[in-house]
Symmetry: C2
Subunit: 234 residues, 2 copies
């Protein structure tokens, strides 16, 4: 089974949803047969990079609310994060995530995509580190197992993995995703949002039990098997 997860590093529900999905996956008996692939989605592709705009300022401007109201909104999301045992700081900054998604594609080539996404989430939400800063990104990539010089090279070349990020985003649109996180099981079922772990576990079990693919055409004609190959009788 393959689960694809569209998400953005700037998205609190993606951060929380990743933990909830992993809890659901841990409770699923067939977990060892599940391959997880992370896909790119930018919530704010027009955001400047790098930027030092505090998230609370961005939220107040975006929703047209006071700083106190923005803080209250953040506090409720922070409660949900802490409910999953996750750190959450509202003094983080807001910025463009395109470069981070490019690095996640590099990490995929090294087999450490999931690890790097986890490191990015922690750095952003639990540690409020400046993700517009290249040295910070290279250090985080290295922490996840991506060779530092390769990460630096990708950051220096704006075309590196840019097509891969855009292809993921196009695919999200084709699948009808308008927000993230968006989880897709075997291209068959879609789950929108950072749902409770139980929702993920049940979805995995449902897809697993249906299991075998639906036959569209079959029959002896044109098949080779244990008993040899079918031979046309015409």
């Amino acid at each position: 089974m393959r689960v694809e997860i569209w998400s953005d590093i700037a998205c609190p529900w993606c951060y929380i949803g990743k933990a909830r999905f992993e809890a659901g996956l841990a409770g699923f008996a067939g977990r060892d047969g599940v391959e997880v692939v992370h896909r790119s989605f930018e919530l704010d592709p027009g955001a400047p990079a790098p930027t030092d705009v505090p998230v609370l300022e961005m939220l107040a401007a975006k929703y047209g609310v006071s700083r106190e109201q923005a803080e209250a909104m953040e506090a409720r999301v922070a409660d949900a994060a802490r409910g999953e045992g996750l750190g959450y700081r509202s003094d983080r900054v807001h910025g463009n995530t395109f470069d981070l998604h490019r690095l996640l594609h590099l990490a995929k080539a090294h087999g450490v995509q999931d690890a790097l996404l986890g490191v990015f989430y922690r750095a952003n939400f639990a540690e409020a580190r400046p993700l517009g800063d290249r040295e910070t990104l290279v250090a985080l990539a290295a922490e996840a197992g991506v060779p530092a010089e390769e990460a630096a090279r990708v950051l220096a070349d704006p075309d590196a993995y840019a097509d891969a990020v855009r292809a993921d985003e196009r695919e999200a649109a084709e699948l009808g995703a308008t927000g993230v996180p968006f989880f897709v099981i075997d291209r068959r079922y879609g789950i929108s949002g950072g749902q409770p772990a139980e929702v993920f576990r049940e979805a995995l079990e449902r897809a697993y039990q249906e299991g075998a693919v639906q036959p569209l055409a079959s029959g002896d004609a044109g098949v080779c098997g244990d008993d040899g190959c079918a031979v046309p009788t015409a």
Copy 2:
């Protein structure tokens, strides 16, 4: 969309089915969005390697028929191959294909898996070349774009890609495949056998039109989108 094709180089219907699938794919408007992945399947894992057993001898022994009857069976399969514009020789030899599948996994890492499978089919069925011969295999791999020294290294190391071959075969069994070729579209639909091109085209169109994944859970809770992130109201 992703189409996985389980096949064996020793399987005439896989050879014919590949051409028919490609004809069906060529007639499908969404062909540029289709990724094809070849998966390993051995029809005769117990076959000795390398071997010089003529296919006609193997067939006569397997089915308990005379050489003339084996020739007549082959002639009917050859007609089907020629109907797709494919060369077909019955003086080819029969042998173990495990090493060939290992090389196809190496070719996948180089992005030339489809090319190498085509080269193997042509060498076996149209040219009756000895596929138990390592030098022949290295030359064929190089023709498809696999560096010769890497192919030689994989052939010299019986463990290289062995797990990948066995994982494919396990997956075929899990999906209920008992023969090849076996085509799976998006892990949703299965097509068994070298069916007419039209069957493949229709299956691709059906899967494409259904397109969007089926939502299992959604709602505003826990989603970030263009309008910002949902905030718990509790």
